[in-house]
């Protein structure tokens, strides 16, 4: 039986002091705003990131509703452009990229390796302030009238023609990028130097491996994006042609620099999700992760290959046929490490004792939707097919399957899995399972029709469309409404659990992993005594008899 170090009635441990944890250690505002505790910083991130998610969600809900009729039911073209740009910028730069590293990674990476904190706690706090500054900056740009370039800021539109808030939005993106970069730097040094005794590289949980790989992408890609955006800003301000052909520049250079970051950024977004799923699936299947080393190495395979496929966004932009051929072939290669992961998760499930708690439902949803969306990616990597579906809703559906179906579901899985550890409370079991089902169904109904509409030729980023696509758009909008309900529900039952949830105890899921061996919520120093690791992770097969009487 697990011991409850927190939230036990006083009678359970007579004479014991009231347990101190990272939440009740101090209450002053300064103790939060100047904290160097990685767990508090994770919570500091959780609030604005959640807010950003809902702002981005509201923006796209309005444009989605507007697409109910071919003429555009709600908003005019200009507003529509601003809405999808807000959605894209906020969701990519301020939600998808930072969410799992900054919230779950910040909280659990040190705990999973048995450390007291990250290597550079003050830099960790600095990254939070940078995130807030960047997010605030972008929010001001939105309030000042918005920006209509799309999240890709393609030149020469962004540098010569568009609304002036481009500079502000980009500055926000650059600042937020440096926040992620410092987080990545912190993670790499932490994993190298602060592992607990006995925790060698092949005893690290897969989540740590994926965080490590993600950090590498941050470090190598973010500076290039920052420089590309800085050059656009300077071009706008001083009218010097770096990217604008009218002034002697080359717009393709912007696309190269932009996608050199933004394609690896896709893996920044999906790798942490893969890490979460690799934790959740073995736990709720009560079985060791199949092919641990292959799953670990494939994270690095994805991170490395991810740097050599960027031009597949530019097949119709005027790059040479030979370059396109090479980038097409390299893009197919990314499917190999991705498939290794999917096969290993499936093999883990094979002949295991699965239970369907909410984290597991989200994780299984991830595997299904990621596989589905990933396969669509192979269509897009094919040169001939890409000519046909480029810039259509087929592309939109593809990356939403990965980003929303994959990443958001994985984040939900992780949040549900670790919520008892973060807060010490359990949320409503049936509501959370229901939410998982609602999100899965809503998601499918939203994005599956977009594949059809896109394949039939409906272009993206238009507020009007030909009437024959209406049926698909109505289906999609209906699905989005269901999806919206699914996203709002957790706000209620998770926040509610803080008051009415039953105490979780140390290890409600009977999971292996160091983070479960300490109290919930953990003390500020994470562990009562520094842990020593003697076994590889995911030894569920050994503990079966003990945990499931």
């Amino acid at each position: 039986m697990s011991t409850h170090a927190f939230d036990q009635p006083a009678g359970a441990a007579p004479g014991a002091e009231p347990p101190t944890n990272y939440l009740n250690a101090s209450y002053s505002v300064t103790s939060w705003l100047l904290t160097t505790d990685h767990k508090r910083i994770a919570l500091l991130y959780l609030l604005p990131i959640t807010l950003m998610f809902f702002i981005g969600g509201v923006a796209i809900s309005i444009s989605r509703l507007s697409l109910m009729t071919p003429e555009g039911a709600l908003v005019d073209a200009d507003t529509y452009n601003k809405l999808f740009t807000i959605h894209g910028v906020i969701m990519v730069f301020f939600f998808l990229v930072p969410v799992i590293p900054s919230v779950l990674g910040n909280f659990f990476l040190p705990m999973m390796i048995g450390a007291k904190d990250l290597a550079f706690p003050r830099i960790n706090l600095l990254s939070w302030y940078l995130y807030m500054l960047g997010a605030g900056w972008a929010a001001v740009a939105v309030l000042a009238g918005g920006v209509d370039t799309g999240w890709t800021f393609y030149t020469p539109y962004s540098s010569a023609s568009s609304h002036y808030n481009v500079v502000m939005t980009m500055t926000g993106g650059v600042i937020a990028g440096f926040s992620s970069l410092l987080t990545g730097l912190n993670f790499i040094v932490t994993v190298h130097w602060l592992r607990a005794p006995g925790l060698n590289w092949f005893r690290l949980p897969i989540f740590v491996w994926t965080m490590y790989a993600t950090s590498f992408i941050f470090l190598l890609a973010v500076p290039v994006l920052a420089m590309a955006l800085i050059l656009v800003i300077i071009e706008r301000l001083w009218q010097i042609g770096i990217f604008d052909p009218a002034l002697g520049g080359d717009p393709l250079l912007f696309q190269h620099l932009f996608w050199f970051y933004s394609h690896p950024a896709v893996y920044i977004m999906i790798l942490p999700g893969m890490g979460v799923v690799s934790e959740v699936i073995p736990c709720f299947a009560r079985k060791q992760l199949y092919g641990y080393k292959f799953v670990a190495y494939s994270s690095f395979g994805i991170a490395c290959l991810g740097f050599f496929v960027w031009a597949h966004h530019m097949f119709v932009a005027g790059i040479s046929l030979y370059a396109a051929l090479i980038f097409s072939s390299l893009s197919f290669l990314v499917a190999v490490p991705s498939a290794i992961k999917v096969f290993n998760w499936t093999a883990t499930l094979y002949k295991s004792s699965i239970s369907f708690e909410a984290p597991m439902l989200f994780a299984l949803g991830f595997v299904a939707l990621f596989t589905f969306g990933g396969m669509a990616g192979l269509f897009l990597a094919t040169l001939g097919v890409d000519m046909h579906v480029h810039d259509t809703y087929f592309v939109v559906a593809h990356f939403h399957f990965i980003m929303v179906g994959g990443m958001v579901l994985a984040y939900m899985a992780g949040l549900h899995y670790w919520w008892p550890k973060i807060t010490g409370r359990m949320y409503s079991d049936w509501l959370s399972r229901l939410t998982a089902m609602i999100i899965f169904i809503g998601f499918f109904l939203t994005f599956l029709p977009q594949f059809v509409a896109g394949y039939n030729g409906m272009p993206r980023r238009y507020h009007m469309y030909a009437p024959e696509y209406q049926v698909w758009n109505v289906m999609s909008t209906a699905g989005a409404s269901i999806l919206g309900v699914g996203y709002v529900l957790p706000l209620f039952y998770m926040v509610g659990s803080l008051w009415s949830g039953k105490p979780a105890g140390r290890n409600p899921w009977h999971a292996t992993g160091l983070e479960w061996q300490t109290a919930s919520p953990p003390p500020t120093e994470n562990f009562e005594q520094s842990p020593v690791v003697v076994r590889p992770p995911y030894q569920y097969h050994l503990e079966k008899a003990q945990n499931e009487p």
Binding site: S31, H192, L220, L231, L247, G248, L257
Partner: protein, 243 residues
């Protein structure tokens, strides 16, 4: 283990124990000073890797446009002041030697020597900036600032370029300003950091057991030096310069 109080320590207050206001020499997440030193060094190396990528995008832009607009880039480069650029290279190389000596004496715990050589490093950094400022002033007088002081006609009449080639000259000069400007910013930050470390050394914060801040600052300083070594040929040494 009772950690020594560092320079930023405030009176101990339990509610602030895990905030940035309280700082010990051995931070709580580390086992010992050696581990802390190694982590700091790795952190700086990783940071420098990101800096390489940061400047890398600019070097890529120069490479591409130099390939596309060879003639204009060489003409524009010939107008830059390679002599000041060359002297500044020597100044920076010398400053790197000074900071190496500072690290050497930090390793042996020679407090006054550390302060001396860190001071010389900062002084040479200031020299570099002064020369750079002089150079910028000459550029200003010669109308080499696109977007502010630039005479398109002069490039057609004096240098014999076609009018449609003049934007490429502006492009080169623009890259010159951005790259040297960013580098100058890095030097300025470096001087500030060196001065802070110098003050810490003056107060005796370092010992042969722990001198990680000196070590890590030196890494950064060398990086800034190396960037300049690449900037000099990339920007100043195109085309045929005349005395």
């Amino acid at each position: 283990m009772s950690p020594d109080n560092g320079p930023l320590t405030v009176p101990h207050d339990e509610s602030l124990e895990h905030t940035i206001l309280v700082r010990h020499r051995l931070e709580e997440q580390y086992e010992n000073l050696d581990q802390q030193h190694q982590a700091a060094a790795l952190g700086m190396w990783v940071f420098l890797a990101t800096e390489v990528m940061f400047f890398g995008a600019l070097f890529l832009a120069v490479a591409i446009y130099r390939f596309l607009y060879t003639v204009e880039f060489e003409k524009a480069s010939e107008r830059l002041n390679w002599m000041i650029g060359g002297v500044n290279t020597l100044v920076l190389l010398l400053s790197s030697l000074m900071i190496v000596l500072a690290v050497h004496y930090a390793r042996h715990g020679r407090r006054k020597r550390i302060v001396l050589f860190l001071g010389l490093t900062a002084l040479l950094g200031v020299c570099f900036l002064a020369f750079k400022g002089l150079e910028y002033y000459i550029d200003y007088q010669e109308n080499l600032i696109p977007g502010w002081r630039f005479d398109a006609g002069e490039w057609v009449t004096r240098e014999g370029l076609r009018p449609d080639q003049v934007p490429h000259v502006k492009l080169f000069l623009f890259l010159y300003w951005v790259m040297t400007g960013l580098h100058g910013l890095h030097v300025t930050i470096g001087i500030c950091v060196v001065l802070v470390i110098m003050a810490m050394a003056w107060r005796g914060k370092f010992s042969p057991e722990y001198y990680a801040p000196v070590d890590v600052t030196a890494l950064y300083w060398h990086f800034v030096d190396v960037v300049w070594i690449f900037l000099l040929p990339t920007l100043y040494l195109l085309g045929t310069h005349h005395w």
